[in-house]
Amino acid sequence: MSDVIRVAPPSADIGEVLISEEQIRLKVAELGERISADYEGRAVTLVSVLKGALPFMADLMRAMRIPVQIDLMEVSSYGGTTTESTGLVRILKDLSSSIAGKDVLIVEDIIDTGLTLNYLLRYLRGKNPNSIKICALLDKPARRLVEINIDYLGFTIPDEFVVGYGLDFGEYYRNLPFIGVLRRELYETQ
């Protein structure tokens, strides 16, 4: 038998459930309906940003009743291993197909400073889509630097460190079905 490294259940590290699984389900259904109504008679290309937005996009696209294409992007984040090498954002995974002339809906898990999304918007606009809108599950406006117009928003949340439903801390907790506040002692330094 291989060595087993014990890990506490992810939910044990959650101090408070901020948004329950049921609340997420209802909100995603509502957003899917709104988007479907707004794009009635058209197809939309959902562009999701890895990795945090994956669960949200997976649920959202199934809540939509219009033709949908999906694509995925991944960009380096400040503080990651690529920071020191270039000092600039890098596209780690680009779109798989052209979005020229298409109606694009960026699907984001959370908008915090707005810096990443601001960069993505500039990048995607350069690819000449017919339109770009933004759908975000969570908005944390407390530390916003770049004002972003969010076309479809799930929840505005307080200034807490949240994980779950795609959101991570150290790449963990993404699999939680709810959004919770991480216990402070797990990330506060001594």
Partner: protein, 187 residues
């Protein structure tokens, strides 16, 4: 951009690096706003926000001092907003900056760039507490949860001082300078 500026606090250098990283143009303390005048009409107090982001038409002020010490800064900010209502300014408190560093996996900087510590000491390297709750394999992986972070050099920040007297904040230096100037003028 970061290379040319002289920052008063390590947190400012870090924010400059973040802005550079995401391609957001910035100027460091490009403008000083008079906020208080004496009866002769001379400016006796002013405020220079740390950053101006021209593409966003936004000023950003970082206050990484302890919450109890930011009252004066808050007062100046209120005064600025009263006198210059068209100016957009965002104040980042210490807790905001620490949260930003946590978001980017900079656990060491979240701890070491706060308050006076960020002004007088080299960046210390601390292990995230996360190591207590994640598998040991994570500690060997690259990335935010990896082993001790290399604290990025503070470009153009103050060199470590050898003097025994602790450095004082920029505001204190300005006040001291102003008092010296007024004393010299009146003597």
């Amino acid at each position: 951009m970061t290379e040319q500026a002289r920052f008063a606090h390590a947190s400012e250098a870090e924010l400059a690096r973040i802005l550079d990283y995401y391609g957001v143009a910035w100027d460091y303390e490009p403008r000083t706003f008079p906020i208080l005048w004496n009866t002769d009409g001379k400016v006796i107090e002013s405020f220079s926000p740390d950053f101006y982001l021209p593409e966003l038409d936004l000023y950003v002020e970082l206050t990484t001092l302890k919450q109890s010490l930011v009252r004066r800064k808050n007062r100046k900010l209120r005064r600025l907003r009263e006198l210059y209502p068209d100016i957009k300014i965002k104040l980042f408190y210490g807790k905001d900056f620490r949260a930003l560093m946590l978001k980017y996996g900079r656990f060491d900087l979240a701890a070491s760039l706060s308050g006076l510590e960020g002004q007088i000491t080299p960046l210390s390297v601390r292990q995230p507490k996360l190591a207590l709750t994640v598998p040991a394999v994570a500690a060997s992986a690259d990335g935010p949860t990896g082993a001790a972070f290399e604290a990025a050099p503070i470009v153009a920040a103050r060199a470590p001082s050898t003097r025994s007297r602790p450095r004082v904040s920029r505001g204190s230096r300005r006040r001291r300078g102003r008092r010296a100037f007024l004393a010299a003028r009146n003597s």
